[in-house]
Symmetry: C2
Subunit: 347 residues, 2 copies
Amino acid sequence: MPELRKDIVTGRWVIISTERSKRPDDFRAPEFAEIKKESLTFCPFCPGNESKTPPEVFSVREKHSAPDQPGWKIRVVPNKFPALQPGPPPPKKLKGVYQWMEGVGVHEVIIETPDHHQEMSDLTTKHLAKIIRVFRLRTIHIEEQFHHKYVQIFKNKGKEAGASLSHPHSQIIATPIVPKRIKEEIYGAERLFRNHFRECAFCRMLKEELGSSERLIYQNARFAVLAPFASRFPFEMAIFPLEHSAFFRKITDEDCTDLAEALKQALARLKLQLSNPAFNLVFHQAPNPQVSDKAWPGIDSYYHWHIELMPILTKVAGFELGTGFYINPVPPEVAAEFLRKELPVKS
Amino acid sequence: MPELRKDIVTGRWVIISTERSKRPDDFRAPEFAEIKKESLTFCPFCPGNESKTPPEVFSVREKHSAPDQPGWKIRVVPNKFPALQPGPPPPKKLKGVYQWMEGVGVHEVIIETPDHHQEMSDLTTKHLAKIIRVFRLRTIHIEEQFHHKYVQIFKNKGKEAGASLSHPHSQIIATPIVPKRIKEEIYGAERLFRNHFRECAFCRMLKEELGSSERLIYQNARFAVLAPFASRFPFEMAIFPLEHSAFFRKITDEDCTDLAEALKQALARLKLQLSNPAFNLVFHQAPNPQVSDKAWPGIDSYYHWHIELMPILTKVAGFELGTGFYINPVPPEVAAEFLRKELPVKS
């Protein structure tokens, strides 16, 4: 059973995968976040190999095709080597001065397309919108069924980003605690709401960004893609819904279409302008409403869900890891100017 | 002039190197943290090439040898491509909703030995103790002379750790703000002191760790090397002074010798047991006493300086970056058992 452990001083929680690495010599082998490569040529995510993953928990598939058989367009399966074991939220336990929990949660893989060779940026807007609707559905399902505090949707693309399989896929990890980074955003936004702006800090920031447009990369009716003012990484992007909302799960089908278009524009720009780098894509949303309503009453008025898109072009070094203080060699204004160029992106 | 920029919601500061990357196509070139490679064979840190670095600000050298000439054992020079421009702490400025500052600070390189082919773990304890004394001296000098809020001592070893030159060296970056990670430790330790332990949380934790010894790797009269309970990375280590102290700058010469021995033991274990991986080494100390005394009165009673040592054996992926939630495939107890084996380490 994996363990969740808390650093007593910083309050940072860590997943310790006690089951998956028996011997120190083994530690390179288990790539926690993905289904293990079974061979260099064999792909467990390709149609026909459905039996090589745990049984699907959801799929978008052709009428009359059976579960765990070909005919799917999008397929959701439990991770074969999950970072957290499936189950309901575990209680906090004590071990001397330390707090820990059993490593229980949810870890799912969303196989984005049957086509091994397509990348997320190659998918049609229509297909991307369907993937986003699957993210919404799984979020609601996990929150209501399993009551975990936080549902993390993310995608690692490319080896440098931590992906061990190249077949296009995203992941969901639901955790029994709210991750530190999300808590920081909630507390920061709450403080700004209360003491300064009397409105959502993200909304205020968006107003300024759309007004000046020097860091704006793409915009449609419902979403904007920006280079954040304090970008940590070269060509970092953020995607914000223009209409205020704390909960990703509340997006409408029309929102999904516009988000798909914004996401495609962002990804295509990375691919075409920056020679297809590895990247990490991370959703930041309010915690499970069952939790948020108690822990952060009013969160819906001051938190604003969004997506962070981090291309991997430089190394994160000791200074960053040790201090949380990032050094970015590309000003976001320069990045935005470079990325906002009109591109021949097909929907 | 580089800029320091604050993310309004999380309060995270970032260094934007506006000067060093004019064109997006350039962004891979400037390795911010190090003196640029001038060629594959030429090393600006080797004896005889002293004119290829900015003039030294300090050195340990043979009697009668002149500054910026061979004859040195340890040499401190300003970074030729500094992440922050040299100067006194700049004022905070506003740009719409955003806070920023001119990117002013200190960025120095400590060349640890004239011998290009020695690694830090190969140096004698005596020489390592001298390097630690240089760290102490530079810390005091920078704090008293330039009044920056925080002095960050760190070392990136190996390309994967962000180092661009292989000649053994450490770095110091002094910043006009206290880094987020350090602030988190200070606030966390203060809260634990006040609400729970009525003593330093690090001291309490050390008592437990030395008592059970399942995560203890090495110990001498004044220092302990541990695998932290909530380690983020496989084989992560932390070095703590056994005697409580918030300020690294207060270590005695005897402390330096024992710290050198602990550091050598930790580094030799990495090298011999784990095939010499790249690593990041980061000092965490209380901010400049001039600042600490005002901002955190009593910090000397609840904060405890220490060193984090992070071997680079796995990739940090999107889940970690987006959530601050690390997944570690090697339990620290397993790592400690593996690392604590008796080794033929020469002083």
